[in-house]
């Protein structure tokens, strides 16, 4: 049976993994290569590495960091931040990334999704989106509006409508990162995750709000997510990938636990 994936997320600023709430009050958590290797050996299924200040600083993705992460893990990982063209994507993939995540860029230039899918295949193209709850149901019937540039700008785009359109354009996967739940550790935003999971034919990755295994169970079972991003609770050592998976297995959620033991 296809298992539900746990995906630790590394937000990198100037070569260091950091954690903040809503992109504020960032704390230095360490070297991305060491942290990626630790989560890999602990049995995570995939990783996401965001070079979170690359776009704001108008510089390309830190490819040296991508290449060092690629040498350290034997699982797929996605890279986001600092991508502005298919040439940038080609460089990140050549450095060893498996997938490219686009967010604000795709909202401003949706054709980049189709270009990336044509050049590298849909399996390479991940749409990251940051929906925020809105009362404006006339404009956003789902009740959620897409924000960009690190939650700073609202776009008027309905989150479900945007997910459908991105799937039509060829994204292979959609990360739904709730602005309201991000960093709270009080559970995922089940409503919008489920709406999108039911609306698109591609896998949906829930993000924002993971506080314990029960939250993960809820987003997999109630909200039909195919995978979930976990960050804060791993980075602080509150729990581990292995422990979360053991708890999920006890709750009847299919997860990969026999990571294969020792490397040859």
């Amino acid at each position: 049976m296809l298992t539900r994936r746990l995906i630790p997320c590394l937000d990198v600023i100037r070569g260091r993994v950091t954690k903040g709430v809503r992109f504020q009050n960032n704390v230095d958590l360490g070297d991305p290569v060491e942290i990626a290797r630790r989560y890999y050996l602990d049995g995570c299924d995939e990783l996401v590495v965001y070079d979170i200040t690359a776009s704001a600083e108008r510089r390309p993705t830190d490819l040296d960091m991508v290449a060092r992460v690629a040498r350290a893990v034997r699982i797929p990982f996605a890279v986001g931040g600092g991508i502005s063209s298919t040439d940038d994507m080609a460089r990140a993939l050549a450095a060893g990334a498996e997938k490219i995540s686009v967010n604000s860029l795709a909202v401003l230039h949706p054709e980049i999704i189709a270009e990336g899918a044509r050049a590298f295949g849909s399996q390479c193209m991940v749409l990251g989106m940051d929906p925020a709850a809105t009362a404006d149901r006339a404009r956003c019937p789902s009740g959620y509006e897409v924000t960009i540039r690190g939650f700073r700008e609202r776009t008027g785009l309905d989150a479900v409508e945007w997910a459908r359109r991105a799937a039509d354009l060829g994204v292979g996967e959609i990360v739904v990162n709730s602005v309201d739940a991000d960093g709270t550790r009080s559970g995922f935003e089940l409503n919008i995750t489920r709406q999108i999971a039911e609306a698109v034919p591609v896998p949906v990755v829930a993000s924002g709000g993971a506080g314990c295994a029960a939250h993960l169970r809820d987003v997999f079972v109630e909200a039909k997510a195919d995978a979930a991003i976990v960050a804060g609770i791993l980075h602080t050592g509150a729990t581990t990938v292995a422990r979360l998976k053991a708890e999920l297995a006890e709750m009847g959620v299919p997860v990969r636990r026999d990571a294969g033991g020792k490397t040859p």
């Binding site: 296809l2 699982i75 450095a95 399996q123 896998p203 294969g260 490397t263 040859p264």
Partner: protein, 213 residues
Amino acid sequence: MIAIVDYRAGNLTSVKLALDELGRDAIITSNPDDIAKAERIVFPGVGAAGAAMRHLTEMGLAEPLRQAIAAGTPFLGICLGMQILFERSAEDGGVECLGLLPGSVERFRPRDPRDKVPHMGWNLVRFARAHPVFAGLPPEGYFYFVHSYYVVPTRPEHALGRTDYAGVEFCSVAGAGSVIATQFHVEKSGPLGLRLLDAFTRWDGRGAEASPC
């Protein structure tokens, strides 16, 4: 030397990095001479079958690959590199493939909308037959898949491993003679995938139960 065949079908960096981690001498190449003199061949592939077959033909690689396999060179196909070993694929309106193994390639047609296509993520592989490359692996284990099509070997003895998805039990490992092929990505399947790759790099191409035809 291990030749990783570059036929413009996806990214080969992770295959090279996995072989580097195992300390194996490997090159990424599209040179027929490298393929002819390689001790073993890794044949990866991501993307569409039609484009892949066109590139293989244009780059003059189909014949050297056939000859290497006829000579008994250990050969590992991965993902699309597994599919195009068979006779034909349903992708792109129907594509003639290399025909090194008898059988076809079909698309997942899930009845349950919860079963998304592509089949993406970690799924269980049950090793159905003994093979030298499975030495040291448990009888079943989780590996990383990304694909929309799967192989249907004509001869059941060529199906060496099986996986369930979208209402079918499909062939996730195939092989005959010196050829072995996995639908999953050994190079991205963690320590277990690395163990399979390690066993391949030690295999002399003999000892498989089934012959190609």
